[in-house]
Structure formats: structure tokens, C-alpha cells
């Protein structure tokens, strides 16, 4: 009975300390690849449910509540419906690119979960360059979106894709700089080590500015409101996926929410202590934290209007970028000065004061341009 043994070993392995990479038993890769795929799909269903119910709740309506208990099966019903839809390729489309693009968007989302720890050491690969891997892989889906926009031969798609490329290139910088602050304090790029470093204090208390930057920049990078310019439904019809239908469209839908799950996972791993926190099993904490972060994103989406493209750029370069540099500098100085481990809370207070002062200062200095050109 090979398979039950594998299952038992796998379950046992979940709580084990991550061995160095490579060198796992072969079934480690199989089990965790499966876990990652199932996890991401289940989480996507979860966040779609949260999104739809929470948005409905904010907008004083009911939301889906007919399919299954509390409408929980709505996402599955939608999936079945969308699978039966015809897939239409526009006549002038660049067909090969048009067909590949959805996969290019969705694949990186699953890949990122390779380095996310669900419990202590329970991860596909404990890369010692974990965060770098996350940043690098998450940028790939931009290529997919641009492929979609370019190959559709539709002007709305093209504008949407161009907007996405511009925003992702700009927002990558403050996001990476915000991540660097965490790396400095934890002293490691591995996500597992970063979670372990938050044993006593989650980094949101130590690095409030970093959290703020990552949250705002992350919202822009995964194109959630108020930065959802690439699919801006009131202007660009559906943005880069205007021409997609059927399962290809569903891939974008999944990819979009997958990216939201990834961003929520990164935020909760780096700033909210990942799987740590008592009483409940680690993976459950991680899921709860992901949902919490995602709920905050839904909240902003339900409340705020959309910014304009020049304002989007201005926020990245005039607001987030200087703050990210200051945050990195201050954190580096604090680490360099050898801040004692048991006085981490004091560092948190200092950083919170800094956050308040900086944001007040910048909101005074910073003015949104009107963006009109002379014709």
C-alpha cells in the first residue's frame, strides 16, 4: 500500500521543518503542487464569494444567495455556465497570441504559491530568495495582459493594456522598496524565515509605512479599485479582455482574483504574521488573514471612485516612491544601529509616528494635476 503511506507521510511532513532545497522526497513536489493548485482554486472561489456578498452588502442589496447555502455555490454555477459558452476569436486578432495570453496570465498566480508557507516549513520550496521570486513571477502576468490587449485588435483592449503596463512598471518600485524594509528587519528573503521572525510582533506593528505602501501599491498592481484602470468598466467596456468570451474570459477572471489572493497572501505573510497566532492551526490563520486583507480591498473598491491615469502615475512617483525611500532609509538605519530585539515595540511606535508625520506632510505638498493638454 504505497499510496496511504505517501498520504500519511505527507500529512506528517506538513508540520515538519523545511529541508534545504533541493533534496525532498519526490512525493513532496507532487503533494504540494496539488495542494497549491487546490488551495488557489478554493481561495479564488472564497474571495469571489466575499467580493460579491461584501460589495452587495456595501451597496445596500443582497447579492447572490440562491445557489447553495448562502449562495456559496454561485461561483461554481458561474463556472459551469461559462464553460458552456462559445469562445469567439475576432477576425483580425493575432490568433496564437490571443490563445496563449490567458494561460500566461493565470500560470504565474499558481507559481507564486510555491514559496508561501502554509505552516512552519509546509511549503513547496523554501527558496532562500523567496521574495525576489514572488516579485519576479508576479510581473509575468503583465506580459499576458499586454499580449491580450495587443492581439485583440481592439482599441479599448489596447488602451487598457497600455494603462496596465504603465501602472505596473511604476508601482513595482514602491512595492519592492516596501518589501525591502521587511527583509532588512527579518534578515532573510525566505518567506518562512520572515514568518518565523514575526513570532513576537507582526511586522505591521513595526513597519506600518511598509504595510501602507504595499497595500496601496499592491492594489494598483493587481488593478483593484481605485486603480482598476485597465478594465475600467465605465470607460473601456471591459478593458483588455473586451474581446474574450467563454473559458478564456474565465481564465482572466480567475487570474484577476488569483492575483488578489496572491497579494493578500503576501501582505498577510509579510506583515500579519502568516500562519502564526495561537489557538487555531496555522493554515487556518493564513486563510483567515487572506480573507481579512481581501475584505479590506473590497471595502476600498466599494467606496472609492477611480483615479485618472496621470493621477495614478503621480501617486506612484510623487507620493509612494519618496515615502518608500524614506521608509527603507529609516529601517536600514534602525537595523544598522542594532535595535535590541526586545525593544521592537518601541521601534513600532517610532515608525507609527513617522508614518503619521510623513503622510500629513506629503498630503500637504502633493497636488493632483489637472491633466489637460492644449490642442
Amino acid at each position: 500500500m504505497v499510496i496511504p503511506n505517501i498520504a500519511v507521510d505527507a500529512v506528517r511532513h506538513l508540520g515538519a521543518v523545511a529541508p534545504d532545497w533541493p533534496g525532498h522526497p519526490w512525493w513532496h513536489w507532487v503533494v504540494f503542487t496539488l495542494i497549491n493548485i487546490v488551495f488557489i482554486l478554493v481561495m479564488i472561489i472564497g474571495v469571489i464569494y466575499i467580493e460579491r456578498r461584501a460589495i452587495a452588502w456595501f451597496a445596500a442589496r443582497t447579492g447572490p444567495n440562491r445557489t447553495g447555502p448562502f449562495g456559496l455555490l454561485q461561483a461554481i454555477a458561474d463556472a459551469i455556465k461559462i464553460l458552456l459558452k462559445e469562445f469567439i476569436t475576432p477576425m483580425n486578432a493575432d490568433k496564437i497570441v490571443f490563445w496563449i495570453a490567458p494561460a500566461v496570465v493565470f500560470a504565474p498566480v499558481i507559481m507564486i504559491f510555491a514559496v508561501v508557507p502554509f505552516m512552519n516549513g509546509a511549503m513547496l520550496a523554501d527558496l532562500n530568495i523567496g521574495i525576489l521570486f514572488v516579485v519576479a513571477i508576479s510581473s509575468i502576468s503583465t506580459v499576458g495582459v499586454f499580449m491580450a490587449g495587443w492581439s485583440s485588435s481592439n482599441k479599448y483592449s489596447m488602451i487598457g493594456a497600455m494603462r496596465l503596463v504603465a501602472s505596473v512598471i511604476s508601482y513595482e518600485i514602491p512595492v519592492v522598496l516596501a518589501l525591502a524594509g521587511v527583509v532588512l528587519i527579518a534578515g532573510s528573503l525566505s518567506l518562512n524565515d520572515i514568518v518565523l521572525a514575526q513570532q513576537t510582533v507582526p511586522f505591521i506593528l513595526v513597519q506600518p509605512l511598509g504595510f501602507f505602501l504595499l497595500f496601496v501599491g499592491g492594489c494598483a498592481e493587481i488593478n483593484r479599485s481605485p486603480f482598476d484602470l485597465m478594465e475600467a468598466d465605465s470607460e473601456l467596456v471591459a478593458g483588455f479582455h473586451t474581446e474574450y468570451s467563454g473559458m478564456k474570459f474565465a481564465m482572466y477572471y480567475l487570474g484577476e482574483y488569483g492575483e488578489a489572493v496572491v497579494m493578500a497572501t503576501i501582505i498577510s505573510t509579510l506583515f500579519l504574521g502568516g500562519w502564526q497566532w495561537p489557538f487555531l492551526p496555522g493554515w487556518l490563520w493564513l486563510i483567515l488573514k487572506i480573507f481579512l486583507v481581501f475584505f479590506t480591498m473590497v471595502w476600498t473598491r466599494a467606496t472609492l471612485p477611480r483615479v485618472r491615469i496621470d493621477q495614478l502615475m503621480a501617486v506612484a512617483w510623487k507620493f509612494l516612491f519618496p515615502l518608500a525611500l524614506i521608509n527603507l532609509l529609516v529601517t536600514a538605519l534602525q537595523v544598522l544601529a542594532g535595535w535590541p530585539e526586545d525593544l521592537l515595540w518601541l521601534m513600532g511606535i517610532v515608525n507609527y509616528v513617522l508614518l503619521g508625520v510623513l503622510i500629513l506632510l506629503w498630503s500637504r505638498m502633493y497636488k493632483v494635476g489637472w491633466g489637460r493638454i492644449e490642442v
Binding site: 479599485s225 475600467a232 465605465s234 470607460e235 477611480r306 485618472r308 491615469i309 489637472w370 491633466g371 493638454i373
Partner: protein, 367 residues
Amino acid sequence: MQLRTEPYVLNMGPVHPSTHGVFRMRVTLDGEAVLNLEPVFGYLHRGVEKLAEERAYSGVIPLTDRLDYVASMTNNLAYVLAVEKLAEIKVPERAEYLRVIMSELQRISAHLVSIGSFTNDSGCYFTPFLYMYREREKIVDLFDMVCGQRLLYNYMRIGGVSQDIPDEFLPALRKVVKHLPGRINEYDRLLSENEIFLARTKGVGILPKETAINIGASGPVLRSTGIEWDIRKKDPYSIYDRFDFDIPTGEAGDCYDRYYVRLQEMRQSIRIVEQALKQIPSGPVKADVPQLIRPPVGEAYGHVEGPTGEVGFHVVSDGGIAPYRCHIRAPSLMNLTGLYDMSVGWKVQDLIVIFGSFAITMGEIDR
């Protein structure tokens, strides 16, 4: 430094989420900036003016419903005012009060729709829109009570209104009037100070005063430029001279002012309804007018201050049972004439916001 690229033409509409119907804009774009704009309309043309010539005077009223279908009551009123002027019909007191109450409720409900869809155009994902519709629903319920319809009311008649209000109407109206100001304040707090909303609307799509007068703009679009022009005050029709209310005006004539004028106008409308509720007398609601009237030869112009602006009907009689000519002054069309001047040079996103700030209805533009 400005980077110029090869301009291209983008067809926005006739089927587009933000064109409020079947409006089409042929936009020449340089990257995201609008270089040229050519509005194309007529997709919803039904020939209402010609149809009116084929119908008896009372039969034209349902047609007016279908012009600005967001504000049917005021359209009805403008038409019946014109015919009453033509045939010199005296309207009973109670009917006048009912007309005022209905038009003001209609103004509130239309402004709720305009503000809601405007926020939707600026990218609030349906939240304010559905809040506005929640309030509009209560007003629509009131209309349902008096005329049995929820969108196309067909309530006004030549010489009064079609029927008296039911007993439960006035208590329900009092409840709505009591409830609304708090809600409007809530939306004011949600939107008027919102940083992103301000960044998107303040200073965007400025309509200069002179242009506004030259294109014949009216309603909130004109008042947002700072001109105090309201038919209810300047040429009081019905019994508007009996009520005490202000004309809210803007300063800059930008999208924000157009939004804010509408928001304040809802408060003024509530004031009028409150006063009318106190004064409303009992009595008949319709003068003794036959179904088929033959007004004397002549012409008359009836106009009211509708939610989008001055709604006017110019009715010409040749002594027959049907109007010889019925010209409609559609405020949306007049206001929309300023679109080119306001939106050239702005980004595509601004174009949508500017267009949304007019709160047009295609049924009225294409007629």
C-alpha cells in the same frame, strides 16, 4: 514636454456602458487625450413631434412621457401648460398643488439618478448608484400610488391631473420627506469631500459662462456656471410664486459644480414639497374639460424647469382636434452642445465624467 503619438479614432458607442443610451462619440485620441470629438445621435429617433400631430391634444401626453423618461412628470406638465395656455383653461387649486408636489418629487428622483450614474461614470463601483436608487424607489412607490405606473406616469391632464391622490398618499409622502434630508446629507458626506472624487471632477470640463449662454444651456448645467436662472423663479408657472426656495448655483462650471448644484437642488425641492404639504387644499383635481378639445387658432409656449433644464413645448393650433405643430425644446440636447468645448484636451476618462455630468437622456435628444 508632451509626447505626441499618431492620432487614432475611437468609436464610443452607440453601445457603450457610459453613454446613457444610444449616443455615439467619434473621438480622435492622441494616446489618452481627446483631440477631436464628433457626437453622432439619432439612433433613438421615433418622430415624437410628427406623432403628436396625428393625435388629439390629450393623446399627446403619453408621448411626452417617453421623451425624458427619467422625468416624465415635468414633461407632462410642460405640455399641458402649453395646451392650457392655448385653450385658456383654468386649473383647480388642488390640482396645482398636486402638480407642484409631483414635479418636485420628480426632480428629486431624476437628480438621484443623475448623481448616481455620474458617480458610476467616475468609477465608484455601483455603491452610491444603488444608494440613490434606494431613495428613488421610495419616490417611485409614491408615483405608483397616485397613477399606477413606475416610470411613464401619464398623470397630468389638460385642466388638472388624472385622478385624486389616495388616502394613504399624504402620510407616506410625509414619511419620505422626513426621511430624505438625512439621506442626502449622508451622500453629501460620502461624495462631496472624497479626495479622489474631487480630483476627478474639480476643474474638469469647465463650461465658460458665455458659452453656456450662447448654446442655450439651462438647468443645473447653466446654474453651475454661476448664472441664477430658474424658470420657477424667473417666469413662475403653476403656483411656484407661492413657495419660498433658493436657487443653488456653482462658481466654476466644472463637473463638481454640476454635481453639487443637483445635490443642493434636492434639498430645495424637499423644502417646496414641505410647504405644499402644509398648504394643500381639498377640492376637485380636474377642470371640466372634454376629452376632445378644439383650442382656438393660435400658438402657445409652455415651459417648466425640468431636472435637466428648461423643458418647453411650442404648440400651434389650427382649430382642429390635433396640434398643427408641436415643437419640443429638449434641454439635454441644448446642454450637450457644449460637449466639444468642454472635453477637447482632456483624457478619455475625463470625457466619460464630463459626459456623465450632463445627465442626459437619449429619449429626449433623439425624440
